[in-house]
């Protein structure tokens, strides 16, 4: 089997898994939210509503695809693809597990974490361009917020991760996981973990930092004008991003596919999935619990609290590592 075919098969497999995960993450979110709000949640399509994602997808596909007359047509059509492709691209480097035959990932890049961050940073272009090109005021406001918010939080996020990198001494994701064989970085890097979780929420535009699409004020923000498949692409991108950051959190802080309590009989992939699921649940829980922040508070929090804290964490980690040698 030539390498390229192998990569294609792996990519297709990952894509399939990721998209399915996205679909059920969405269902899970709706269900969890509903239960937290004393509702049953989707339960009409299929048993326990399990076919709901399929129904949603069908609906999304058959909806009319509108392009506003004032929109910049090309960019307007391009933007959702930017969002989605960058969101999907991240999975090229994420290792899901490891077995005797090798790493379970499409590509083992030794600067994987850098690749992840650079790609997720590109994702903001999708949102900014979508808002701008819609030729409408709410999307524009949404995209402006998105740009400002991303820049503000990306800094803190990156800084929070650097601590882990220092500890692991590598930028390879697999390497980071290996470095946690004994101790998950969530313990030495607890502050970094907290900062990472918060900034990751902001990065993925989810509640309580969903000011970019704040329905109550911006009528959906950057994707106000989008409908049908294109809207669906944004939707997919958002959830993929959520899965991505959850995967990263698992890899960086929860030891990746390392088993818990030494239960190595259970395959690594199961551990990985469980840990990712736990992080996703925390995201949903956050959304069910916290109200949306005011925009100026969001910015102030990013710059005045998270950035200094992340810097502090980095400097402390660096100092300790340097001191311990």
């Amino acid at each position: 089997m030539p390498l390229w075919l192998f990569v294609v098969i792996k990519s297709a497999l990952v894509l399939f898994v990721v998209v399915t995960t996205f679909a059920y993450a969405m269902l899970a979110e709706r269900k969890v939210l509903a239960w937290m709000q004393l509702r049953p949640g989707p339960n009409r399509v299929g048993p326990w509503g399990l076919l709901q994602p399929a129904a949603d997808a069908a609906k999304m596909l058959f909806k009319e695809d509108l392009t506003p007359a004032t929109a910049d047509s090309l960019i307007y059509r391009l933007a959702p693809w930017i969002s989605m492709i960058t969101a999907m691209g991240v999975f090229a480097v994420i290792p899901f597990s490891e077995s005797s035959s090798g790493l379970w990932s499409i590509g083992d890049v030794n600067a994987g974490i850098l690749f992840v961050f650079s790609l997720t940073s590109l994702g903001v272009y999708g949102i900014s361009l979508a808002g701008w090109s819609s030729g409408s005021k709410f999307p524009l406001l949404g995209s402006l917020r998105s740009t400002a918010q991303m820049i503000s939080y990306e800094l803190a996020m990156t800084l929070s991760v650097v601590g882990v990198l220092i500890l692991a001494g590598t930028t390879s994701l697999a390497g980071i996981v290996h470095a946690q064989n004994k101790l998950w970085f969530v313990i030495p890097q607890f502050l970094g973990f907290i900062i990472y979780v918060i900034t990751a929420v902001a990065e993925t535009n989810r509640a309580p930092f969903d000011l970019v699409e704040a329905e109550t004020e911006l009528v959906g923000g950057f994707h106000t004008e989008y409908s049908g498949l294109r809207f669906g692409l944004f939707f997919i991108a958002e959830y993929l991003n959520m899965i991505t950051v959850s995967c990263i959190a698992t890899l960086l802080f929860f030891g990746g596919w390392n088993p818990l309590f030494g239960l190595s009989v259970i395959p690594g992939i199961v551990w990985f999935v469980l840990k990712v699921g736990f992080v996703i649940f925390i995201y949903i829980w956050l959304r069910a619990t916290l109200p949306r922040l005011r925009y100026d508070r969001l910015m102030a929090f990013g710059w005045q609290v998270l950035l200094p804290l992340a810097t502090l964490n980095l400097m402390a980690t660096a100092a300790i590592v340097a001191w311990k040698g």
Binding site: V32, A34, W35, M36, Q37, L38, R39, P40, W285, A288, T289, L290
Partner: protein, 198 residues
């Protein structure tokens, strides 16, 4: 520092609350399959009644239209002729239309009606896909001649009208699965499963 701790505590409380609900039983009634019991004098879809001899009660006086706070009613009267006698008096409603989307179901039309012609029945399921179909004209409001005279508002001041009685008699208002039943006041009652079964 104290405020910081306070913030953390309240945050934790918040998370605890949502987490707690996550495991609680849900009071939701599976609506179309299980129907909620409504108030005895529930105001639902309108109905134009008839007299026992089949004549329309409505005399086209438009008092409902003027009483309507939502301006949802349009009436145009006309004169009965000996050949085409619709109502007992001289006047009948040639057109009678209610825009159920405008209607706020306050029942003032019923109060204003001098002949008890317009009544609000307990029926409430009238969803449709077209706005136009919510303008109910006489063809849908008027009780069909073979269907009797319609619901008298007097039949339900304190008690329960006959058709509502049958609704009440059904145990289906109780969601067996959840173990809760919802009364028309919206109270949640924890029901003893055994009691129900017995």
């Amino acid at each position: 520092m104290r405020t910081f701790i306070g913030a953390i505590v309240s945050l934790a409380q918040g998370f605890y609350t949502t987490f707690q609900f996550f495991f609680q039983k849900k009071p939701t009634i599976a609506y179309p399959s299980i129907k909620k019991q409504h108030a005895p004098r529930f105001h639902g879809l309108h109905e134009l009644r008839r007299y026992a001899d089949g004549k329309e009660r409505c005399i086209g006086c438009e008092l409902c239209a003027i009483a309507c706070p939502a301006n949802a009613i349009t009436v145009i009267g006309a004169e009965n002729t000996p050949e085409d006698r619709r109502s007992p008096g001289e006047r009948y409603a040639a057109r009678y239309e209610i825009d159920e989307l405008r209607c706020i179901f306050c029942g003032l039309c019923e109060e204003a009606c001098p002949t008890d012609a317009i009544v609000l029945t307990p029926r409430f399921e009238m969803s449709d896909y077209r706005r136009g179909s919510f303008i109910y004209a006489k063809d849908r409001l008027l009780v069909p001649p073979e269907a009797g005279v319609g619901t008298s508002p007097d039949e339900r001041p304190n008690g329960i009208p006959s058709d509502l009685g049958s609704v009440l008699a059904q145990k289906s208002t109780v969601d067996i699965a959840s173990g809760y039943s919802a009364t028309w006041r919206g109270e949640l009652l924890k029901t003893d499963r055994k009691g129900l079964a017995g």
